[in-house]
Amino acid sequence: MAKAEFEIPDLKEYPEVPPVQPGSMAHSKPFVAKNPKFMEPLGYPAELVDDWQEKAIEHMGELLGKYRSLQVFLDACVKCGACTDKCHYYLGTQDPKNMPVARQDLLRKVYRRYFTFAGKYFPRLVGAADLTEDVLEDWYSYFHQCSQCRRCSVFCPYGIDTAEISMAAREIMDRIGLGQKYCNEIIGKVFKIGNNLGLPEPALADTLEGLEEDVVDDTGVEVKYPLDQKGADILLVTPSADFFAEPHVDGLIGYGKVFHEAGVSWTLSSKASEAANFGMFIGSYENMRRISLRIREAALELGVKRIIFGECGHAWRVAYSFLNTLAGPFDFLDSNYPVPQHILEFTWGEIQKGTLKIDKSANDHMVVTFHDSCNVARATRMGDEPGGQFIVPRNVIKAVCNNFVDMDPDTIHEKTFCCGGGGGLLTDDLMELRVKGAKPRMEALRNVIEERGVTNMAAICAICKSQFTKVLPYYGMGMDMIVSVHQLVSEAIVLTGQDAGDDEQEDSTEDVA
């Protein structure tokens, strides 16, 4: 771990609302996408356009016309204050502009100035303000201190969704030529190569072959990790981090074992070799749609009957909530199965059917807790009952582990705290924000470690997994605490024909790049 150049928050036994420190995070700004090659492929101007004020207002007007919700959110706030202590970034940084209401007001005050009667004629009476360079700078800084996790909206009596406001702000900034390097470079790679990492097909094929070797070495069973296999029944779309990083890859190994034991034919696609859709983070419908269409094209080309998504939080939001609108209709898929389906739904189904032989004792060296990923928790469902997105992952964990405990009820389910790196902020140039924003989750985790003997935290999102491996050491905890849910499945599953008596557990919960 690198030495921190900022103060790491103290973890408390009970969560407390810290006093405000105005401007404490005004310096936090991610790298701007200065190179035209990061902007132009997404349809944005290469640099800040000359008439940026005019253009920004014009785009704001366009978004207000397109998304009725945006206008409602900008109009409805009554400043009740219910959201003020709900954002992990406020709790971790103490910067009052990280209170959701203040973050919204950065956009709201400009909206009022240009789009409301009172704001046009009596701006000072209604907190309306011109779009100046200072305001734009605040936008760039603080709309990149929102991970679009939507925890605040759970507590807002009007249901105002700050994520939607921050998405709109980012979209406006992109359209005037002020883009964030991390997200935009990645989206460009998806268009050019097929995934966030920029992993070309030969490297992907080589990596998958390596996994097949590893599983044979470990178990003696030939589990396949097929790529671009035409005629397979299932297309698995998973984050490219699953091919690359740890503990992600241990989850991917688990998906393959489950498919193998279930006896279904499946394939990955080199074209849709990425579940993530950063188009959502930058609030761009056009880019989100273009990224989604790859999945449709891959499904058609390969002739699959089902699409299943791997462990990726925001991908499941895009898949569950928007995919049909973005890239549908999926009438060519088998309607006997959910379109699309989550890997956890699949695995839980197989566990219930009894097709998987499980040896729970393989995970007896762990006491596991579970981190609900924000997009899964607050924007999707799994299975066919309300709250399934909380129940199914826990059911799977409990089916493969003897020791499971939950964290503080105020930090799980729909009240879960963001890992601190979601929404397009998982970049090294925002490390201070990421470490500070992780504080509420770290606090809840440390409490179950001390009180309940928790040794590991399982997650179902590539961003969460990478973020935790990076920030845990700042809080004095081990980076290898974090595990994939399907890694737990992988450890416990006994493959048909698996070498008997092979109880040796390789320590595969290593670190990430």
């Binding site: 920029g198 990596t207 790049a513």
Partner: protein, 110 residues
Amino acid sequence: MPIEANGKVFETDEEGYLANINEWEPAVAEAMSKEDDLDLTDEHWDIINFLREYYEEYQIAPAVRVLTKAVGKKLGKDKGNSKYLYGLFPYGPGKQACRYAGLPKPTGCV
């Protein structure tokens, strides 16, 4: 910020990664490591050289598992793990070692 090595100036991006991988020479890695107060040993060079070879073939840095496996094969199983790599490159093998090797930074959810 550009980096000086071997009497030449090399362009880098905001995060200190070499702008043009083809310009790389060993002195670049030496200069970068010096800035991080790290002395490059033969063990470091084994990793850097592997990264460059892999990149040449696949146009991407190897996955962590591919790297640890290759290291394990070459240097013995006890070294084929992330802990060994983090011991050499405390900022993370994927990122710090890639930077020294002149490779672009791995992007995405990693």
